[in-house]
């Protein structure tokens, strides 16, 4: 029976051998990407990773950061928070200068503590409000959190749609709950009555009771805060049941993926998008084209997040003139990168003391099967 113990020891030996990759080469800088390449978050994670990789290639072709080539290793979290924690640790052990990822908030919440402890700046794609509420000096967003995005919609509901009764349909996980909680707070603040509050399961397929409840509630508008596939299913069901109230989302609802999946049902949906791949901004149009050329497919906003994250690291590092993690983190706080001087940012972007990000954002609508920007919301 004790053979097993020996075997275990052998396992260790192999484990030791496997970690010989901490080799330091002076002419490279390690910026690993820890993200969701498989599991529920694979779509977002893959785009984030590919966007970041695109920036890495460009920067390396142009001579790297301070003359050093970037090495970006990929660590797949399987959309599992525990795995992501282990992998952030692994990335740090390998000598990371900064870390890209993760995208899913549930993972980021766990692994940001590891990066904080090691003092490694981390550029996350997550949008849950609580990430920047923890006084973690090493976490930075690559798109604004839901607590910034949702209030941008408040004015739209109040001043443009003039609604007094509203419904919210949200996915009952950490992502959806974050948006939902901010939304409830905002509606309370401006005095709009939330008449239907409908949580749904991740991966839910039958939205008939959800739509039917919203229909019965007499809501004049619906705030939809779901993942892409559920967005599409919800839109289809809403169209089927003839739900007339305008459907307004944050980020995902008017994305190209949702439009493809929902077919005609996405027509007329609105969304506030922090970063829209369809924004009528030349820099973003150019990025979208580059991405398509490099990968043969379209990206969603996560591709932009990854892209600008790597560029932000480059610009801030060049400002401090050396590879110093601590200095990088403190430089990022309160930093504004103007797109005219720093074209890799695509849009002028600033970070505050908590790592929260602020920049111009967009109101979009689905028209003729395309996401169209119908207005911009200034940076706050």
């Amino acid at each position: 029976m004790q053979r097993r113990t020996l075997l275990t020891a052998a396992t260790f030996a192999a484990a030791l051998a496997g970690t010989g990759l901490a080799a330091h080469a002076a002419d490279v800088v390690k910026i690993p990407c820890v993200c969701e390449m498989s599991g529920a978050g694979a779509v977002s994670g893959t785009n984030y990773h590919d966007g970041a990789m695109l920036a890495v290639k460009e920067i390396n072709a142009a001579g790297g950061i301070l003359g050093r080539q970037i090495v970006m290793d990929t660590y797949d979290t399987q959309t599992d928070p525990q795995v992501s924690r282990a992998l952030v640790q692994k990335a740090i052990d390998s000598g990371a200068y900064a870390i890209m990822g993760t995208v899913y908030s549930g993972s980021t919440i766990v692994n940001m503590m590891v990066a904080q402890r090691a003092g490694v700046p981390q550029f996350t794609g997550s949008e849950a409000p609580n990430i920047t509420e923890r006084n973690n000096p090493y976490i930075f967003r690559t798109s604004s959190g839901a607590q910034k995005g949702v209030p941008a919609l408040t004015a739209y509901f109040k001043d443009q749609l003039h609604v007094t009764k509203i419904a919210v349909e949200w996915v009952n996980n950490d992502f959806g709950k974050g948006g939902h909680d901010v939304f409830r707070k905002e509606m309370k603040r401006v005095g709009i009555d939330v008449v239907a509050d409908v949580p749904s399961e991740q991966g839910q397929v039958d939205f008939s009771s959800d739509v039917s409840k919203i229909k019965q509630s007499g809501a004049q508008a619906v705030f939809v805060y779901l993942n892409e596939e559920e967005d599409a299913r919800f839109l289809k069901e809403a169209k089927k049941q003839g739900l007339k109230a305008p459907l307004v989302g944050e980020v995902t609802l008017t994305g190209q993926k949702v439009i493809d999946l929902a077919g005609g049902a996405a027509e007329g949906a609105f969304a506030h998008v922090g970063l829209a791949t369809s924004a009528p901004v030349p820099s973003i149009e150019a990025f979208v084209a580059k991405f398509r050329k490099a990968y043969g497919r379209d990206t969603d906003h996560n591709g932009i997040k990854g892209y600008i994250g790597v560029y932000a690291i480059k610009y801030a590092t060049e400002m401090i003139g050396k590879f110093d993690r601590k200095a990088l983190a403190s430089k990022m706080h309160g930093l504004t990168l103007d797109v005219k001087k720093y074209p890799g940012m695509l849009l002028t972007t600033s970070w505050d003391k908590t790592g929260e990000l602020s920049r111009e954002s967009f109101m979009t609508e689905v028209k003729n099967g395309k996401q169209v920007v119908i207005g911009t919301v200034p940076a706050n």
């Binding site: 008939s208 009771s209 039917s212 596939e229 089927k240 003839g242 077919g263």
Partner: protein, 292 residues
Amino acid sequence: MSQFLQVLLSGLSTGSIYALAAIGFTLVWQAAQTVNFAQGEFVMLPAFFVLIGIHWLHMPLWLALIFGLIVAVIVLGLLFKKLIVEPMLPNGGLPLIIATMALSILLKEGTKQFYGAEAQPYPSLFPQTTLHMDGAVVSVQDLLNLVVSLTIVVALTLFLNRTRTGRCMQATAQNPAVAEILGVNTKRMVLYTFLINAALAALASFLISPVYLAKFSNGETLGLVAFIAAIVGGFNQIRGALAGGLLIGVLDNLTATYVTTEYRAALPLVLLIVIILWRPQGLLGTSEGRKV
């Protein structure tokens, strides 16, 4: 009232597709005493066979559907039986269960690897029109899903009861020893069962994917719901699995509408526990001669 009708009809439509998966599960259980933990993936996968037919082999939809059905029957029926179930049956139930769990990972990851992690739009089989009935809106797709599923169930029941092969299959499932002494080729009958299971899963896949969209992770919830439906209805009865599927579909919607949305997933589970403890043979099942 119109709301009730609305959710009822939607529930029936979704439930009818659960029923198809549950029936396949039931058949395999009867024929081989096998619980297939990859049943959800069996429903997920055939939609991708169809997409391969359409996108890679440039087939028209109808041909792609036939192609998908055939590939599903070969891969999920024949190969599953020959390569996994058959060599493992003598090893008892637990290793087989673990193997089907591993198979579900393999199918999921394989699909993701070869077709991508994103959900894929899937062509509708039926027109996207709606009917208005007493204030409720019913899509033609929902109605036809229900009709097609029920037709399949009726056809299957007729096949099992009205044809010689069907009755041989029943004999094999109910009493393999007797079937054997009557000269029935019991091995072949068990194989037929696996083929039918694969075909049912494929049909469920074709019906469900226009709504569910084709995604590698679709099987996760579906498999579980199919089990629950099969158990609630009665492990050893086709009509039990049908009733179980419809019941779960409807109850899920009614709970979400009138009781609780947060705990909508809990109701089928509570039902499952109550049924197992109170009536292990299921609502419509008859107690099996075999020991469980």
